[in-house]
Protein backbone atom coordinates (compact mmCIF):
# COMPACT_ATOMS: atom_id res chain seq x y z
CA UNK A 1 0.00 0.00 0.00
CA UNK A 2 2.97 2.22 0.43
CA UNK A 3 3.30 2.53 -3.33
CA UNK A 4 -0.04 4.22 -3.63
CA UNK A 5 0.98 7.20 -1.65
CA UNK A 6 3.05 8.65 -4.42
CA UNK A 7 0.27 8.31 -6.92
CA UNK A 8 -0.40 11.56 -8.74
CA UNK A 9 -3.15 13.67 -7.32
CA UNK A 10 -4.33 14.54 -10.73
CA UNK A 11 -5.89 11.15 -11.17
CA UNK A 12 -8.62 11.20 -8.63
CA UNK A 13 -10.98 8.77 -10.26
CA UNK A 14 -8.76 5.79 -10.63
CA UNK A 15 -10.37 2.68 -9.34
CA UNK A 16 -8.20 -0.20 -8.46
CA UNK A 17 -7.40 -1.96 -11.70
CA UNK A 18 -8.62 -5.35 -10.67
CA UNK A 19 -12.05 -4.02 -9.88
CA UNK A 20 -12.42 -1.36 -12.44
CA UNK A 21 -13.71 -3.57 -15.20
CA UNK A 22 -17.23 -4.27 -14.12
CA UNK A 23 -17.88 -0.80 -12.83
CA UNK A 24 -18.36 0.59 -16.27
CA UNK A 25 -22.12 0.78 -16.35
CA UNK A 26 -21.59 2.00 -12.87
CA UNK A 27 -24.47 4.35 -12.46
CA UNK A 28 -27.82 2.67 -12.53
CA UNK A 29 -30.58 5.03 -13.51
CA UNK A 30 -30.73 7.63 -10.78
CA UNK A 31 -34.40 7.56 -10.19
CA UNK A 32 -34.85 4.01 -8.99
CA UNK A 33 -31.93 4.37 -6.66
CA UNK A 34 -33.22 7.58 -5.21
CA UNK A 35 -36.64 6.08 -4.89
CA UNK A 36 -35.05 3.19 -3.04
CA UNK A 37 -33.36 5.54 -0.67
CA UNK A 38 -36.55 7.42 -0.08
CA UNK A 39 -38.38 4.22 0.50
CA UNK A 40 -35.77 3.28 3.05
CA UNK A 41 -36.13 6.56 4.83
CA UNK A 42 -39.86 6.30 4.78
CA UNK A 43 -39.69 2.81 6.20
CA UNK A 44 -37.29 3.95 8.86
CA UNK A 45 -39.46 6.87 9.78
CA UNK A 46 -42.53 4.69 9.89
CA UNK A 47 -40.71 2.24 12.10
CA UNK A 48 -39.57 4.98 14.43
CA UNK A 49 -43.04 6.48 14.51
CA UNK A 50 -44.54 3.10 15.26
CA UNK A 51 -42.04 2.58 18.04
CA UNK A 52 -42.87 5.90 19.57
CA UNK A 53 -46.57 5.70 19.00
CA UNK A 54 -47.09 2.09 20.01
CA UNK A 55 -47.48 2.80 23.67
CA UNK A 56 -49.90 5.59 22.87
CA UNK A 57 -52.03 3.45 20.65
CA UNK A 58 -52.46 0.77 23.24
CA UNK A 59 -55.87 0.80 24.78
CA UNK A 60 -55.87 2.78 27.92
CA UNK A 61 -55.94 0.97 31.18
CA UNK A 62 -59.34 0.04 32.36
CA UNK A 63 -59.51 2.87 34.83
CA UNK A 64 -62.32 4.61 33.12
CA UNK A 65 -64.32 1.50 32.49
CA UNK A 66 -67.61 1.01 34.13
CA UNK A 67 -67.44 -1.32 37.02
CA UNK A 68 -69.94 -4.02 37.56
CA UNK A 69 -72.54 -2.70 39.93
CA UNK A 70 -70.72 -2.89 43.18
CA UNK A 71 -72.40 -2.05 46.41
CA UNK A 72 -70.42 0.69 48.01
CA UNK A 73 -71.11 2.86 50.99
CA UNK A 74 -73.31 5.64 49.89
CA UNK A 75 -75.06 3.86 47.06
CA UNK A 76 -73.75 3.30 43.58
CA UNK A 77 -71.12 6.02 43.75
CA UNK A 78 -67.55 4.77 43.76
CA UNK A 79 -65.87 5.03 47.10
CA UNK A 80 -62.67 6.98 47.53
CA UNK A 81 -60.82 5.27 50.30
CA UNK A 82 -58.94 7.24 52.85
CA UNK A 83 -57.61 6.94 56.34
CA UNK A 84 -57.42 9.17 59.37
CA UNK A 85 -54.78 8.69 62.02
CA UNK A 86 -55.39 10.46 65.29
CA UNK A 87 -52.02 11.30 66.79
CA UNK A 88 -53.72 12.34 70.00
CA UNK A 89 -54.98 8.81 70.45
CA UNK A 90 -51.87 7.04 69.17
CA UNK A 91 -49.38 5.95 71.80
CA UNK A 92 -46.71 4.79 69.35
CA UNK A 93 -47.09 1.14 70.32
CA UNK A 94 -46.47 0.02 66.73
CA UNK A 95 -49.08 -2.69 66.88
CA UNK A 96 -50.19 -1.44 63.48
CA UNK A 97 -46.72 -2.03 62.09
CA UNK A 98 -46.59 -5.67 63.12
CA UNK A 99 -50.21 -6.28 62.16
CA UNK A 100 -49.48 -4.96 58.70
CA UNK A 101 -46.38 -7.07 58.37
CA UNK A 102 -48.21 -10.26 59.24
CA UNK A 103 -51.29 -9.48 57.20
CA UNK A 104 -49.44 -8.57 54.04
CA UNK A 105 -46.66 -11.13 54.08
CA UNK A 106 -44.06 -8.43 54.42
CA UNK A 107 -40.73 -10.18 54.81
CA UNK A 108 -38.50 -9.96 57.84
CA UNK A 109 -35.31 -8.15 56.92
CA UNK A 110 -32.87 -9.72 59.34
CA UNK A 111 -29.89 -8.19 61.10
CA UNK A 112 -27.75 -7.46 58.10
CA UNK A 113 -30.43 -5.94 55.91
CA UNK A 114 -31.90 -3.91 58.75
CA UNK A 115 -28.52 -2.39 59.38
CA UNK A 116 -28.32 -1.43 55.73
CA UNK A 117 -31.66 0.30 56.01
CA UNK A 118 -33.61 -2.15 53.90
CA UNK A 119 -36.42 -3.07 56.21
CA UNK A 120 -39.85 -3.02 54.63
CA UNK A 121 -42.71 -1.48 56.55
CA UNK A 122 -45.86 -0.81 54.61
CA UNK A 123 -46.89 0.83 57.82
CA UNK A 124 -43.91 2.65 59.24
CA UNK A 125 -43.37 4.76 62.32
CA UNK A 126 -41.77 8.09 61.70
CA UNK A 127 -40.22 9.55 64.80
CA UNK A 128 -38.52 12.81 65.51
CA UNK A 129 -36.95 14.21 68.59
CA UNK A 130 -36.06 17.83 68.95
CA UNK A 131 -34.30 19.86 71.56
CA UNK A 132 -31.84 19.20 74.30
CA UNK A 133 -32.38 17.64 77.68
CA UNK A 134 -34.69 18.53 79.39
CA UNK A 135 -36.49 20.67 76.83
CA UNK A 136 -37.52 17.96 74.47
CA UNK A 137 -40.26 17.36 72.02
CA UNK A 138 -40.93 14.03 70.44
CA UNK A 139 -43.24 13.00 67.67
CA UNK A 140 -44.34 9.57 66.55
CA UNK A 141 -46.23 9.39 63.31
CA UNK A 142 -47.50 6.09 61.89
CA UNK A 143 -47.02 6.41 58.16
CA UNK A 144 -48.64 4.13 55.62
CA UNK A 145 -48.69 5.05 51.95
CA UNK A 146 -50.59 8.31 51.60
CA UNK A 147 -52.46 7.12 48.53
CA UNK A 148 -52.16 10.58 47.03
CA UNK A 149 -54.83 11.66 44.59
CA UNK A 150 -52.04 13.32 42.65
CA UNK A 151 -49.42 10.68 43.22
CA UNK A 152 -45.91 11.57 42.09
CA UNK A 153 -44.99 7.90 41.99
CA UNK A 154 -47.72 7.04 39.51
CA UNK A 155 -46.63 9.76 37.12
CA UNK A 156 -43.14 8.45 36.68
CA UNK A 157 -43.66 4.71 36.29
CA UNK A 158 -42.42 3.72 32.85
CA UNK A 159 -44.52 0.57 32.55
CA UNK A 160 -47.74 1.36 34.36
CA UNK A 161 -46.94 -0.97 37.22
CA UNK A 162 -48.41 1.55 39.60
CA UNK A 163 -51.64 3.38 39.07
CA UNK A 164 -54.51 4.88 40.98
CA UNK A 165 -57.43 2.55 40.90
CA UNK A 166 -61.05 3.44 40.57
CA UNK A 167 -61.42 3.66 44.32
CA UNK A 168 -58.43 5.89 44.89
CA UNK A 169 -55.98 3.25 45.97
CA UNK A 170 -52.47 3.74 44.65
CA UNK A 171 -51.86 0.18 43.55
CA UNK A 172 -48.58 -1.50 42.81
CA UNK A 173 -48.63 -4.41 40.37
CA UNK A 174 -45.37 -6.01 41.23
CA UNK A 175 -45.76 -8.55 38.46
CA UNK A 176 -45.40 -5.67 36.03
CA UNK A 177 -42.66 -3.81 37.89
CA UNK A 178 -39.25 -3.68 36.24
CA UNK A 179 -37.50 -2.48 39.38
CA UNK A 180 -36.22 0.87 38.10
CA UNK A 181 -37.07 2.49 41.45
CA UNK A 182 -38.17 5.72 39.85
CA UNK A 183 -41.34 5.66 41.92
CA UNK A 184 -39.46 5.09 45.16
CA UNK A 185 -37.31 8.14 44.49
CA UNK A 186 -40.25 10.18 43.29
CA UNK A 187 -42.34 9.53 46.40
CA UNK A 188 -41.82 12.55 48.65
CA UNK A 189 -42.86 10.43 51.62
CA UNK A 190 -40.41 7.58 51.00
CA UNK A 191 -43.24 5.15 51.50
CA UNK A 192 -42.47 2.73 48.70
CA UNK A 193 -40.25 -0.21 49.29
CA UNK A 194 -37.95 -2.20 47.10
CA UNK A 195 -37.14 -5.87 47.47
CA UNK A 196 -33.40 -5.67 47.44
CA UNK A 197 -33.15 -9.42 47.50
CA UNK A 198 -35.36 -12.47 47.51
CA UNK A 199 -37.29 -12.37 50.77
CA UNK A 200 -36.19 -14.99 53.19
CA UNK A 201 -39.25 -17.08 53.82
CA UNK A 202 -37.84 -19.83 55.90
CA UNK A 203 -39.77 -23.05 56.15
CA UNK A 204 -41.07 -21.97 59.55
CA UNK A 205 -41.97 -18.44 58.51
CA UNK A 206 -43.88 -19.68 55.48
CA UNK A 207 -46.49 -21.14 57.77
CA UNK A 208 -47.60 -17.67 58.70
CA UNK A 209 -48.13 -16.51 55.11
CA UNK A 210 -51.53 -15.06 54.47
CA UNK A 211 -53.04 -16.96 51.53
CA UNK A 212 -54.92 -13.85 50.42
CA UNK A 213 -51.79 -11.88 49.62
CA UNK A 214 -49.03 -12.88 47.24
CA UNK A 215 -45.42 -12.87 48.28
CA UNK A 216 -43.14 -10.64 46.30
CA UNK A 217 -39.94 -11.76 44.59
CA UNK A 218 -36.70 -9.87 44.52
CA UNK A 219 -36.25 -6.79 42.42
CA UNK A 220 -39.72 -5.30 42.57
CA UNK A 221 -41.34 -2.46 44.44
CA UNK A 222 -44.09 -3.04 46.96
CA UNK A 223 -46.22 -0.82 49.12
CA UNK A 224 -49.31 -0.40 51.25
CA UNK A 225 -52.54 -1.35 49.48
CA UNK A 226 -54.97 -0.12 52.14
CA UNK A 227 -55.44 -3.87 52.67
CA UNK A 228 -57.24 -4.12 49.40
CA UNK A 229 -57.87 -7.82 49.87
CA UNK A 230 -59.76 -7.12 53.07
CA UNK A 231 -61.93 -4.56 51.31
CA UNK A 232 -62.67 -7.14 48.67
CA UNK A 233 -63.49 -9.70 51.30
CA UNK A 234 -65.80 -7.32 53.14
CA UNK A 235 -67.54 -6.47 49.91
CA UNK A 236 -68.02 -10.14 49.07
CA UNK A 237 -69.37 -10.81 52.54
CA UNK A 238 -71.80 -7.92 52.22
CA UNK A 239 -72.87 -9.11 48.81
CA UNK A 240 -73.41 -12.62 50.09
CA UNK A 241 -75.65 -11.16 52.75
CA UNK A 242 -77.46 -9.24 50.06
CA UNK A 243 -76.69 -5.76 51.36
CA UNK A 244 -74.42 -2.85 50.65
CA UNK A 245 -71.12 -2.43 52.41
CA UNK A 246 -71.52 0.14 55.17
CA UNK A 247 -69.19 2.50 56.92
CA UNK A 248 -69.28 0.23 59.96
CA UNK A 249 -67.97 -2.61 57.81
CA UNK A 250 -64.91 -0.69 56.74
CA UNK A 251 -64.30 1.57 59.71
CA UNK A 252 -61.58 -0.70 61.09
CA UNK A 253 -60.99 -2.78 58.02
CA UNK A 254 -57.28 -2.53 57.23
CA UNK A 255 -55.05 -4.65 59.42
CA UNK A 256 -53.46 -1.58 61.02
CA UNK A 257 -56.79 -0.06 61.92
CA UNK A 258 -58.04 -3.37 63.22
CA UNK A 259 -55.03 -3.83 65.44
CA UNK A 260 -54.80 -0.34 66.89
CA UNK A 261 -55.52 -0.63 70.61
CA UNK A 262 -56.07 3.12 70.79
CA UNK A 263 -58.58 3.08 67.96
CA UNK A 264 -56.54 5.85 66.42
CA UNK A 265 -56.90 4.70 62.83
CA UNK A 266 -60.15 5.29 60.98
CA UNK A 267 -60.65 3.95 57.50
CA UNK A 268 -63.47 4.92 55.25
CA UNK A 269 -64.89 6.53 52.18
CA UNK A 270 -64.01 10.17 51.60
CA UNK A 271 -66.77 10.41 49.00
CA UNK A 272 -69.38 9.56 51.57
CA UNK A 273 -70.07 12.72 53.54
CA UNK A 274 -71.69 10.64 56.27
CA UNK A 275 -68.70 8.41 56.90
CA UNK A 276 -66.81 8.83 60.12
CA UNK A 277 -63.72 9.51 58.10
CA UNK A 278 -65.30 12.41 56.27
CA UNK A 279 -66.36 13.83 59.59
CA UNK A 280 -62.83 13.54 60.93
CA UNK A 281 -61.44 15.11 57.78
CA UNK A 282 -63.37 18.25 58.65
CA UNK A 283 -61.78 18.48 62.08
CA UNK A 284 -59.74 21.61 62.77
CA UNK A 285 -57.00 19.24 63.88
CA UNK A 286 -56.84 17.59 60.46
CA UNK A 287 -53.59 17.98 58.56
CA UNK A 288 -51.93 16.03 55.79
CA UNK A 289 -48.25 15.40 55.40
CA UNK A 290 -46.50 17.88 53.15
CA UNK A 291 -49.71 19.28 51.78
CA UNK A 292 -47.72 22.05 50.17
CA UNK A 293 -46.43 19.61 47.56
CA UNK A 294 -49.87 19.32 46.04
CA UNK A 295 -49.95 15.56 46.21
CA UNK A 296 -53.38 15.48 47.86
CA UNK A 297 -52.79 12.63 50.26
CA UNK A 298 -55.77 10.60 51.38
CA UNK A 299 -54.20 9.83 54.74
CA UNK A 300 -55.33 12.49 57.15
CA UNK A 301 -53.57 13.11 60.41
CA UNK A 302 -55.31 14.56 63.40
CA UNK A 303 -52.83 16.65 65.28
CA UNK A 304 -52.03 16.09 68.90
CA UNK A 305 -54.01 18.42 71.08
CA UNK A 306 -52.90 20.22 74.21
CA UNK A 307 -54.39 19.66 77.61
CA UNK A 308 -57.59 21.68 77.99
CA UNK A 309 -57.62 22.27 74.26
Amino acid sequence: MASDESAPRSNPVSPAPARSAPTQPEAPPPNPERRGALRQIAALAAGAAAFVALPLLRPRRALAQEDAPSPAPGGTRKPRWGMAIDLDRCTACQGCVVACKTENNVPIAGADQTERGRGIFWMDMLQTEEGEYPDLKGQFIPTPCNHCDNAPCVKVCPVGATYINEEGIVAQMWARCIGCRFCTTACPYTRRYFNWQAPDWSEAARHTLNPNVATRPKGVVEKCTFCHHRIRQARETARAEGRAMTDADVRRLPACAQACPADAITFGDLNDPESELSQLAKSPRAVRLQEELGTHPKVIYLREAKWQE
Binding site: R19, L63, M173
Partner: protein, 179 residues
Amino acid sequence: MSTSRKPGRRVAAFCVGALLFAAAACAVAWVSLRPRPHPVVQPIAFSHRVHVSGEEMECADCHKRVGESPHATFPPVKYCMQCHEEPQGEHPDEPRVREYAQRGQEIPWVRVNRLPGHVYFSHASHVRDAKMECAECHGAMEDAEAPVTLPQIGHLDMGTCMACHRERGASNDCLRCHK
Protein backbone atom coordinates in the same frame (compact mmCIF):
# COMPACT_ATOMS: atom_id res chain seq x y z
CA MET B 1 -14.48 -9.37 -7.69
CA SER B 2 -18.04 -9.47 -8.69
CA THR B 3 -19.00 -9.13 -5.09
CA SER B 4 -18.65 -5.41 -5.19
CA ARG B 5 -21.32 -5.12 -7.83
CA LYS B 6 -24.38 -5.63 -5.76
CA PRO B 7 -23.17 -5.09 -2.24
CA GLY B 8 -26.63 -4.02 -1.13
CA ARG B 9 -27.94 -7.42 -1.96
CA ARG B 10 -25.20 -9.06 0.01
CA VAL B 11 -26.02 -6.95 3.01
CA ALA B 12 -29.67 -7.72 2.63
CA ALA B 13 -28.96 -11.42 2.23
CA PHE B 14 -26.78 -11.36 5.31
CA CYS B 15 -29.40 -9.61 7.35
CA VAL B 16 -32.21 -11.84 6.20
CA GLY B 17 -30.07 -14.88 6.90
CA ALA B 18 -29.27 -13.69 10.38
CA LEU B 19 -32.91 -12.92 11.07
CA LEU B 20 -34.03 -16.31 9.81
CA PHE B 21 -31.45 -18.00 11.96
CA ALA B 22 -32.49 -16.02 15.02
CA ALA B 23 -36.14 -16.79 14.37
CA ALA B 24 -35.40 -20.46 13.96
CA ALA B 25 -33.37 -20.47 17.17
CA CYS B 26 -36.17 -18.76 19.03
CA ALA B 27 -38.72 -21.20 17.69
CA VAL B 28 -36.63 -24.18 18.70
CA ALA B 29 -36.06 -22.65 22.14
CA TRP B 30 -39.74 -21.89 22.58
CA VAL B 31 -40.86 -25.34 21.58
CA SER B 32 -38.34 -27.12 23.73
CA LEU B 33 -38.41 -24.84 26.76
CA ARG B 34 -42.07 -23.91 26.94
CA PRO B 35 -43.58 -25.05 30.20
CA ARG B 36 -46.07 -27.77 29.45
CA PRO B 37 -48.50 -29.21 31.88
CA HIS B 38 -47.93 -32.85 32.43
CA PRO B 39 -50.77 -35.16 33.22
CA VAL B 40 -51.16 -36.08 36.85
CA VAL B 41 -52.28 -39.39 38.27
CA GLN B 42 -55.51 -39.21 40.24
CA PRO B 43 -55.91 -41.63 43.14
CA ILE B 44 -59.34 -42.88 42.09
CA ALA B 45 -60.70 -43.45 38.59
CA PHE B 46 -63.54 -41.03 39.18
CA SER B 47 -66.01 -40.57 36.33
CA HIS B 48 -67.85 -37.28 36.16
CA ARG B 49 -70.14 -38.74 33.53
CA VAL B 50 -71.45 -41.47 35.79
CA HIS B 51 -72.17 -38.97 38.55
CA VAL B 52 -73.39 -35.97 36.58
CA SER B 53 -75.16 -37.57 33.63
CA GLY B 54 -75.95 -40.89 35.22
CA GLU B 55 -76.98 -39.86 38.71
CA GLU B 56 -78.03 -36.34 37.73
CA MET B 57 -75.99 -34.73 40.42
CA GLU B 58 -75.18 -31.03 40.39
CA CYS B 59 -71.62 -29.72 40.45
CA ALA B 60 -72.29 -27.96 43.73
CA ASP B 61 -73.43 -31.21 45.33
CA CYS B 62 -69.79 -32.17 45.72
CA HIS B 63 -67.92 -28.94 45.10
CA LYS B 64 -69.96 -27.49 47.90
CA ARG B 65 -68.38 -24.14 48.50
CA VAL B 66 -68.39 -23.02 44.89
CA GLY B 67 -71.10 -20.45 45.53
CA GLU B 68 -69.81 -19.02 48.77
CA SER B 69 -66.04 -19.20 48.75
CA PRO B 70 -63.21 -18.33 46.41
CA HIS B 71 -62.46 -22.05 46.12
CA ALA B 72 -64.85 -24.64 44.78
CA THR B 73 -63.05 -27.22 46.97
CA PHE B 74 -62.82 -30.97 46.66
CA PRO B 75 -65.43 -33.02 48.42
CA PRO B 76 -64.31 -34.67 51.63
CA VAL B 77 -64.57 -38.43 51.62
CA LYS B 78 -67.59 -38.31 53.89
CA TYR B 79 -69.64 -36.94 50.97
CA CYS B 80 -68.65 -39.98 48.92
CA MET B 81 -69.65 -42.21 51.76
CA GLN B 82 -73.21 -40.93 51.69
CA CYS B 83 -73.77 -43.18 48.69
CA HIS B 84 -70.74 -45.45 48.64
CA GLU B 85 -71.17 -46.72 52.16
CA GLU B 86 -72.74 -49.65 50.33
CA PRO B 87 -71.20 -50.84 47.06
CA GLN B 88 -72.89 -49.13 44.11
CA GLY B 89 -71.16 -50.86 41.25
CA GLU B 90 -68.33 -53.11 40.33
CA HIS B 91 -65.54 -50.74 39.57
CA PRO B 92 -62.34 -51.98 41.19
CA ASP B 93 -61.62 -48.48 42.58
CA GLU B 94 -64.88 -48.22 44.46
CA PRO B 95 -63.82 -50.26 47.51
CA ARG B 96 -60.77 -48.05 47.76
CA VAL B 97 -62.99 -45.09 48.54
CA ARG B 98 -64.25 -46.98 51.57
CA GLU B 99 -60.69 -47.86 52.48
CA TYR B 100 -59.80 -44.20 52.67
CA ALA B 101 -62.84 -43.48 54.76
CA GLN B 102 -62.08 -46.32 57.12
CA ARG B 103 -58.54 -45.13 57.61
CA GLY B 104 -59.88 -41.67 58.39
CA GLN B 105 -57.97 -40.28 55.42
CA GLU B 106 -59.10 -37.92 52.75
CA ILE B 107 -58.75 -39.03 49.17
CA PRO B 108 -55.60 -37.29 47.94
CA TRP B 109 -57.12 -35.71 44.84
CA VAL B 110 -54.54 -33.81 42.84
CA ARG B 111 -55.43 -30.28 41.91
CA VAL B 112 -54.89 -29.52 38.23
CA ASN B 113 -56.48 -26.14 37.63
CA ARG B 114 -54.18 -23.55 39.06
CA LEU B 115 -53.71 -19.86 38.65
CA PRO B 116 -50.43 -18.10 39.33
CA GLY B 117 -49.89 -17.15 42.94
CA HIS B 118 -50.44 -13.45 42.39
CA VAL B 119 -53.88 -13.93 40.92
CA TYR B 120 -56.99 -13.84 43.03
CA PHE B 121 -59.94 -15.72 41.61
CA SER B 122 -63.20 -16.19 43.38
CA HIS B 123 -65.57 -18.94 42.35
CA ALA B 124 -68.25 -17.30 44.44
CA SER B 125 -68.00 -14.03 42.54
CA HIS B 126 -68.31 -15.76 39.22
CA VAL B 127 -70.92 -18.36 40.12
CA ARG B 128 -73.04 -16.56 42.67
CA ASP B 129 -72.73 -12.94 41.60
CA ALA B 130 -72.07 -13.14 37.88
CA LYS B 131 -74.33 -16.21 37.52
CA MET B 132 -71.88 -18.04 35.29
CA GLU B 133 -72.31 -21.72 34.53
CA CYS B 134 -69.54 -24.06 35.57
CA ALA B 135 -69.34 -25.38 32.02
CA GLU B 136 -68.46 -21.95 30.65
CA CYS B 137 -64.95 -22.49 31.93
CA HIS B 138 -64.72 -26.14 32.79
CA GLY B 139 -66.41 -27.52 29.69
CA ALA B 140 -68.74 -30.46 29.45
CA MET B 141 -67.81 -32.37 32.53
CA GLU B 142 -70.92 -34.48 32.21
CA ASP B 143 -69.17 -36.30 29.37
CA ALA B 144 -65.87 -36.87 31.13
CA GLU B 145 -65.29 -40.55 31.64
CA ALA B 146 -61.88 -40.42 33.23
CA PRO B 147 -60.77 -38.21 36.08
CA VAL B 148 -59.28 -34.88 35.18
CA THR B 149 -55.53 -35.15 34.73
CA LEU B 150 -54.71 -31.99 32.80
CA PRO B 151 -55.75 -28.37 33.32
CA GLN B 152 -59.03 -27.91 31.50
CA ILE B 153 -58.65 -24.22 31.07
CA GLY B 154 -55.38 -24.25 29.23
CA HIS B 155 -55.71 -20.99 27.41
CA LEU B 156 -56.45 -18.94 30.48
CA ASP B 157 -54.11 -15.97 30.30
CA MET B 158 -54.70 -12.43 31.41
CA GLY B 159 -56.01 -11.42 28.01
CA THR B 160 -58.76 -14.04 28.22
CA CYS B 161 -59.84 -12.81 31.64
CA MET B 162 -59.80 -9.20 30.57
CA ALA B 163 -61.69 -9.81 27.34
CA CYS B 164 -64.44 -11.60 29.19
CA HIS B 165 -64.56 -8.93 31.87
CA ARG B 166 -64.80 -6.26 29.20
CA GLU B 167 -67.57 -8.10 27.46
CA ARG B 168 -69.59 -8.47 30.62
CA GLY B 169 -68.86 -5.02 31.94
CA ALA B 170 -66.91 -6.31 34.91
CA SER B 171 -64.06 -4.25 36.22
CA ASN B 172 -60.65 -4.60 34.68
CA ASP B 173 -58.98 -2.77 37.51
CA CYS B 174 -55.72 -4.63 38.13
CA LEU B 175 -56.41 -4.83 41.85
CA ARG B 176 -59.61 -6.66 41.18
CA CYS B 177 -57.73 -9.84 40.37
CA HIS B 178 -54.16 -9.29 41.49
CA LYS B 179 -53.10 -9.67 45.05
